[in-house]
Symmetry: C2
Amino acid sequence: MLTRADNANIDIAALMADMGARARVAAAPLAIATTGQKNAALNAMADALMDGQADILAANRSDMEAGREANLSSAFLDRLELTPDRIAAMAEGVRAIAALDDPVGSVIAAWDRPNGLHIERVRTPLGVIGVIYESRPNVTADAGALCLKAGNAVILRGGSDSVHSSRAIHACLVDGLEKAGLPADAIQLVPVTDRAAVGEMLKGLGGSIDVIVPRGGRGLVERVQTDARVPVFAHLEGLCHIYVDASADRDMAVNIVVNSKMRRTGICGAAETLLVDRKAAGTMLAPILDALDAAGCAIRADAQVRAAWPKAEPASDADWTTEYLDAIISVALVDGVGGAIDHIARHSSNHTEAIVAEDAGAVERFMGEIDSAILLHNASTQFADGAEFGMGAEIGIATGKMHARGPVGVEQLTSFNYRVRGSGQTRP
Amino acid sequence: MLTRADNANIDIAALMADMGARARVAAAPLAIATTGQKNAALNAMADALMDGQADILAANRSDMEAGREANLSSAFLDRLELTPDRIAAMAEGVRAIAALDDPVGSVIAAWDRPNGLHIERVRTPLGVIGVIYESRPNVTADAGALCLKAGNAVILRGGSDSVHSSRAIHACLVDGLEKAGLPADAIQLVPVTDRAAVGEMLKGLGGSIDVIVPRGGRGLVERVQTDARVPVFAHLEGLCHIYVDASADRDMAVNIVVNSKMRRTGICGAAETLLVDRKAAGTMLAPILDALDAAGCAIRADAQVRAAWPKAEPASDADWTTEYLDAIISVALVDGVGGAIDHIARHSSNHTEAIVAEDAGAVERFMGEIDSAILLHNASTQFADGAEFGMGAEIGIATGKMHARGPVGVEQLTSFNYRVRGSGQTRP
């Protein structure tokens, strides 16, 4: 097992090129592996995670000790820490992926041509996926399992602070692959912590990586987007808006706003800005802001909101573009749904926006005119989640518009091809 | 109108950034334009092309004269030349795009969640598309019309050799946009021939370009793939294979091979390599190669084929990876469908491959194990075409696996988002 101290002696470019080549070789049998084989591997991985709990916890203790010595924040250490419950949840997550429908080989569309050709559009694996993530060691299992279910080989590069935990989890995944007769190289973990390894992955390992999935904070995602020479499923920040129309049911608006902001403040689907229809300022603002305040949320507002609800702090320009991921919300009045659409077009990260309204015309404008991955009517922004969509596990929520958009689940980790069946047709 | 001589006085980066910003502004009303508005614009464009025929022909004469002075090849000049028939075909092409279904707003999938949420996946425009092309001036009309139909703004950068023709065609497109009340900036043509403009487009014009579509030869596509900092729908070469199994109907095999190679040799769906099942060498090789020879095709073959059909020239290693786009074919014997799959995995550009066979097992292996955009059974490779697939006009055939694969028509020029309708749901 390599450690940080070994890095200096290693030719990172050669190591990574070799991993890429091995992933590419593994991708071929994976692409045609049966559903039964893949599920057998996944269930064996879950068993191995449960059986290997002691080893995983021991590895995690090393990471936690090093993290405490390095004075990592308590939030960071919380993400890093594994417990028997968290390991059991990880194993259950892998079993849940086994239970999903296999996307590979499913016919997305089929049609006949006048000349008798029968055309099918069929899901196929993408090939080799590179996943670059930070402190949460459970991503090792989630990402490995999702990529395998979609018939892809994967190269995982976890954060250096969780390296021992990730290695222990990865050993369980390889165990599952081998028990099912699938190539061990189907799920590889970069064995070094040198950041140069990330740079090599972003260059695509000589054509061996088909797509990069970054999972982490803004700094990581921005580095990946700037430096990647291969396609990226980028998850930018979730600067989610919730708009309360004058036609909204007031109690529903209060419930949805509080849930959107406060259920969990640290997830990408948490609301960061509340927009209230100016026509409803007199009736809606006070009950919504009182409820947020009672729930412990700090409120930063424009001058008009503060005139109606003086307890709010003044919002600066930066507040309209800040993903707080905390119990803070920015609040502005807007001129109806048109004003909300304008504000969102200027400031949104195009992740998720919600409208609370009873007026059908306002709802249709909101749904039809805003270019964000997820738009919700009379529902909490916190439903922005692959599992809540019924798509099973997700590897992230893509904010780009190419290929995958919104929750990236097992279907989004596939491509497709056309299979055309004829009876001797030639083209005139 | 700017000419080549003006380029030196122009700040290309500023000019392109301004075009990008204007495209982004135009994209918003386009995204919500009605089908009727877009079709009115397209039909007005077709009218303007017919009415403007004299101007277009005059502009084309300037390009043709300059091209002859520059000693451009006759093949190049043929692609460049416009005639009244070609202009009429261009106008008909634009009307055919008007007749296509509007993809924007169509519901791709819809489902309900146990908590009562109704989720729809709805097609949306991609945004702003950059199209970089070479000598064929008709791409100006095709690409402009396709992007418009899908609700996208487009920045067109045509080849410098066809600049006058492209400008005359572009003027007709703008005329149509204006007649339908759509923004003229929806279809912009880069007004300078400086190659620095391409460099700016590949950098994405400060986030204004969502995807680049290169249309041209290998040099252009490779430059785009190397330098692009935004997603690319790349059309690499079509190194298409046709495999004749021992189970094939011999007459069908002869017809399909000759059509795949010789119907039109210059298109990306033309076959470049013929693979014949070793078990059928004695029965299949001679009739197929005799027919190709009679049709005027040069044959380059491995030693085993030459032993059976001595008239063939010897194939070099390079022949297995050469897209001839000419009346030349490389021919090898392989060990059944497994041998064909191996050869294709090593040498294919993953564009289009065909199998001629009656044995269902061989067909299923070929269809299931080869990772190319289009796979055909008992049909000519020359069907690799959006119109032949019933998808209407195409902007190219994508050989990548992300987002669009195979023919890139109006649907492939869209993205999608999720629209979720609730009745007050909050997340537990």
